[in-house]
């Protein structure tokens, strides 16, 4: 059985394997530097549907059902589907789950949902309560834009520090056996709020949460940045990534050479006009199931720390002038190196 280490970390002894993954992205992500790591790239970000919300739901459905197929399983084999997204009432996930024959638990962690669902899934597996669990999440540029910023019809301008919500969905199937990357530690983050109110500067709003979780993970496990081939934060973007690195250095953790940000990696800001980088639940989901997972399978990365970061604001709270609380969850994944 797993055990608690330190204040916020759980060691997962049974090592639940990630036996199947699938990701699907929009055309813009497909033109980015990580294109070779995506399973499917859409030509049309409506994916043949009539609204961006329906499109997002269809992306999530595709990611989940294809990941199950890749693991050579059927929907009835899966004991839990853990999924979430950015839209009100988790509508993308609920509507995707409507068409799936799997018990469903909806999770809201904003853009931290990939690490959140993988954490909860790993703990369920560790408890011996499931044979197979699917962890998944999605986001869509246009549905998020409509919900959190302004309607696309307005054609409003984007601030220089604004990030670009990733259109994409990623899913991971957890199982007990097989020669696959496995989860070893889960560090659950606390909500941190340093008083940022600017919704166009979410990377910096989330950075203190990322710093807190990463620092706590090192303290709990006794590890240091150099123990990881890659430490990947979810969607802090260029500005948030630099800020995080600086703050961690103050705690004497030198991240140089071991640290990337999924939001910074997924786009080429000069060529693609994405300003500070990518964001959204889909961002860390497609980078984790793509670039990180596939490089683990090839033996390039032996141990990684996925730190998905979420900005826990609502469109109402930001209009009322509330500050932006941030959260970050960390999951340590290993493969092939002991």
């Amino acid at each position: 059985m797993g055990r608690r280490v330190g204040l916020q970390t759980v060691e997962i002894e049974s090592k639940p394997r990630i036996i199947g993954t699938y990701n699907i992205v929009g055309p813009k992500e497909g033109q980015g530097p990580l294109r070779e790591y995506f399973d499917k790239i859409l030509d049309d970000d409506l994916n043949g549907t009539e609204s961006f919300e329906k499109a997002e739901s269809s992306l999530l459905y595709t990611a989940i059902s294809e990941s199950i197929k890749k693991a050579k399983l059927k929907e009835v084999d899966i004991n839990y589907l853990l999924a979430g997204d950015l839209l009100n009432q988790l509508s993308s996930s609920c509507f995707a789950a409507r068409d799936l024959n799997i018990p469903f638990i909806g999770l809201y962690g904003a853009c931290s949902t990939m690490a959140e669902s993988l954490s909860v899934g790993s703990m369920i597996m560790e408890g011996g309560l499931a044979h197979y669990v699917v962890a998944a999440t999605s986001s869509h540029f246009s549905s998020a834009e409509r919900q959190f910023r302004l309607p696309l019809e307005m054609g409003s301008q984007r601030a220089p520090t604004a990030q670009w919500t990733v259109t994409g969905a990623g899913a991971m199937v957890l199982g007990k056996k097989g020669d696959f990357p496995y989860v070893t530690h889960v560090t659950t983050g606390k909500v941190k709020d340093y008083g940022i109110v600017d919704v166009n500067n979410m990377g910096v709003a989330m950075a203190p949460a990322a710093v807190d979780t990463i620092k706590q993970h090192f303290m709990d496990t006794g590890r240091k940045p150099s123990d990881y081939d890659v430490i990947a934060t979810g969607d802090l973007g260029i500005i948030g990534r630099e800020f995080t690195e600086k703050l961690l250095l103050e705690y004497k953790y030198d991240m140089k050479g071991h640290y990337i940000d999924c939001g910074e990696k997924i786009f080429d800001p000069k060529r693609q006009g994405t300003n500070a980088g990518g964001s959204g639940c889909g961002c860390s989901a497609v980078v984790a199931t793509g670039y990180l997972f596939k490089n683990m399978l090839q033996g390039k990365f032996k141990r990684i720390l996925l730190v998905s970061t979420g900005a826990l604001l609502s469109s109402t709270s930001s209009l009322q002038g509330e500050t932006i609380p941030g959260i970050a969850h960390a999951v340590s994944i290993e493969f092939g190196g002991e």
């Binding site: 813009k28 961006f52 540029f141 309607p151 696309l152 019809e153 307005m154 301008q157 984007r158």
Partner: protein, 119 residues
């Protein structure tokens, strides 16, 4: 020809002010819209904006402050004719054409086009 150039220059200056506000302040587009209309009302009431329209023609009357200017002028005219009640009726009467056109063309555009993801 002179009118066209002046309309271009005056309208352009108003838009540049808006762009500077967008880039250097945290004001939302909706707030800038309100600031522009309100500024038009005040400048119209003080007869300052008349000068802008005199030189800029449509370059002054089409942008948002021009709408505020029409509101102010229509209210003043209505008050002169019908007394204080004009403060309530004048603004909408004078700008009815603009408002209805915005609703009508907005509706037509919504019927013809679908929103697309930004590039």
């Amino acid at each position: 020809m002179n009118n066209y150039i002046m309309a271009f220059v005056v309208g352009g200056i108003i838009c540049v002010i808006g762009q500077i506000l967008m880039d250097t302040t945290k004001l939302t587009p909706a707030r800038i819209l309100v600031v522009f209309v309100t500024a038009g009302v005040i400048l119209g009431a003080l007869n300052v904006y008349d000068v802008v329209i005199e030189y800029g023609k449509a370059g002054g009357s089409i942008p948002l402050p021009g709408f505020g200017y029409s509101l102010a002028k229509s209210v003043m005219k209505e008050v002169d004719e019908f007394g204080l009640i004009g403060a309530f009726t004048g603004g909408i009467k004078g700008t009815a054409g603009g408002i209805t056109a915005a609703i009508f063309f907005g509706y037509i555009m919504a019927l013809i086009f679908n929103p697309k993801t930004k590039e």
